[in-house]
Amino acid sequence: MTAFKEIEKKLIQQAKELLERGEVAQVIAYGRGYDDQHPMPYVAKTVADADNLVFNEFCTFNLVGYLMRCPPGIKVAIVVKGADSRAVVQLIQEAKLRREDLVLLGIPASGMVDQKTGKIIDAQTTGGQINPVLCDYLLGEEKYGRTESPYQVLKPLEVMGKDDRWQFWQNELSRCLRCFACRKACPMCYCDPCFMDQSRPRWADKSPTAEGSIMYHLTRFYHLAGRCIDCGNCSRSCPVDIPLYLFHKKLAQDCEEMFGQAAGMRIEDKPVMVDFRVEDTDEMLK
C-alpha cells in the first residue's frame, strides 16, 4: 500500500517551496471536498494555500485536463500519478503543452480507490500504470515488479461472438444521457468545438437518440485511438457507469500490438496515428 500521509506531507512541502521561490504560479493538486472520501481538484496559488492540499487513495481524478486552461508561458506545477503523467507526455507530443511550462510532481500510487464503488482501481479496471513515466519531483517510492496486464479485463469481451459484442455495446451506449462528462473529464478531449457541438454539419442527433449516442461514443473512441492513456476518468465520471474504458483499452491494445507503441510513454515519440512508416502493418485494412 502506498504511504498516503507521507506523500501528502511531501506534496505540501514541495508545493510550498515551489510557490515560495516563485518557480511556479500555481500548483494543481487536490484539496478537501465535502468529506475525506471526496477530495476535489484544487489550485494552490499562495504558500498559505498549500496547507489545504491533500493526497489520499480517493484522489483518482486525472488533473491533466486543467492544464489546457492555463495560458502558455506561465509555469505551473501539477500532481501526476502514473497514467496522468502519460497524459502530459501525450499532450506534449501533440504540441498542446510545453515541457518548459510544467513542473511535474510525480506520485507512484497504488491502491487507489474508486469513490463510487469503494473498490481498488487496479490493472483490471483502469490505471494499471503505477510509476509516473515523467516527473521532476518524485513524492513517493516507485514500485516495480509485474502487475497484471491492463488488457486482462478484455478477455470476457474477446470470447464473445461478434453479434453478442455488438449487442453488449449497443446496450451500454444507448444508456448514455449525453451529459458529456466523459469528454469533459478526458484530458485528451480538447477539440473546440467538439464534433458533437457542431450544427453544420450535424454529425449526430442533438436529442439523445440511441443511434446518436452510439455515433458519439464510437467517434470519440476512434478519436482517442493511440492517444488514450487509460486513466479511467471517463468511466469514473459517467453518472450511469458505462464501462467506456473497455473500448479504449481494446484500441490501446490493438495499437500496441500493431505499432509497438503505447500512448504517452516517451516525449520523443510521435503519436501513433500521426507517425507513418513504410513498414507499418496494414492489418487493419484486411
Binding site: P39, C179, A181, T209
Partner: protein, 345 residues
Amino acid sequence: MLKKIEQGKLSELVTALIDQGPLYAPVRDDRGVNFQSIRSPLAVTLDFYNSVLSPKAVFFPQSEDLISYRLGRGEPTAKTTPLPTAQTILLGVRPPDAYSFFLMDELFLGSGIVDPYWQSRRDLTVVIGYPFINQTPDAVDFYSSLGISATDTRGSDIFLIKKNGELLFKGLTEKGNALLAKQAALFTEATGDDEQYYLAALAQGAAIVTRNLDCDPKRTASKLENLFADTAFWEQMAAACISCGTCTFVCPTCHCFDIADENIFRDGARRRFWDACMFTDFTLEASGHNPRSRVYQRLRQKVCHKYSYYIRNFGVISCVGCGRCTRSCPVNIDIFTIIAEAMKK
C-alpha cells in the same frame, strides 16, 4: 384511507397496477437504482435509499416528439403528437423528489403559459410517495435546510410505509384514495394498530435531520444578487468544474430544454430534449458570440437560477436538497457548500 397488503404480495399489486396503465417504479441493476417503466412485477425494489436519476423524466421525458412530419415532393405533411391519455402510476418517490414536482409546477403551469405536456402527465399520474423512515440520511443530502421533511406529504397522492412484512398504503388525496379503492380486492383494511404504527413512523421520520443551513429564500436571493459580480468568488467555486451536464441531468428541478428538428431523409420530428446550462454551447449565439464563455459564468448561472432567479420569479428555491448533483459530480462540487460560502459573504 389506510390499507395494507403483505409485502410478499407486492408483485400481485404491481401486476394489477400495470394493468391500469404505465407504472414507473424503482428497479435495481448492477449500476444502482433508477425509476423504470415496469413490465415484470418482480423487478420493483423498495430496498433502496434513492435513485441515481431523479424521477422527473416521468413528467418531463429526456426527449419527446412534439410534431412529426414528412417532407419531400408535394405538400409536406405534419401532425402534432397527441397528448398522453393513460393513467400513470409513479411508485416509490422520496419526499424531496415528490416536492420537486410542485416546484416544477410553478414554471410549467404557473408562469402564465401552461405547458400541455407537463400538465397532462401531472393530471394523469398518481404519485406514491415513499418516506424516509428508519434511515440515516446520506451525508450529502440537505433537504432539511429547504424546509422539506423526510416524511413530507407534499406532492404525494399516497404514502407507502413498510411495517414488518406488511406494506401500509395511506391515501392522501382524492386521486390517491380513488386508486386504493379501485384495488380494494387486493388490500385488507388497516387496524387501529396500523393507524398508530403509521403515525408513529411519520413522527419518527419527521425527526430526521440532514445537513442544515439557514437559507431563507428572500435572504438567499438578495445575497446571491449582491454576489453576482464577485468574479473571484465564482471562479473559486468553479475552479474544479469541468462543465459537464451531469449535475443538471440528475437534478429533479433542472428543466431547461432545447428543441430541434431532426429527420432521416424525408421523415422527421420536432423534438424537445433536456439541455444543460453547463454546456459550452448552451448560450452560444448565431453570431458566434457566447455571453457565458467561461466555466464560472455557467456554474454561477446554475446556482443563481435555483437560489436567486427562481425565488424572484416564483417565490421558492428551486432545489430540494436531494444530494444527487453532489453524489454524481465527477469532481465532487457540492452546491450546499457553495450556498454556505455565499451566505458567509
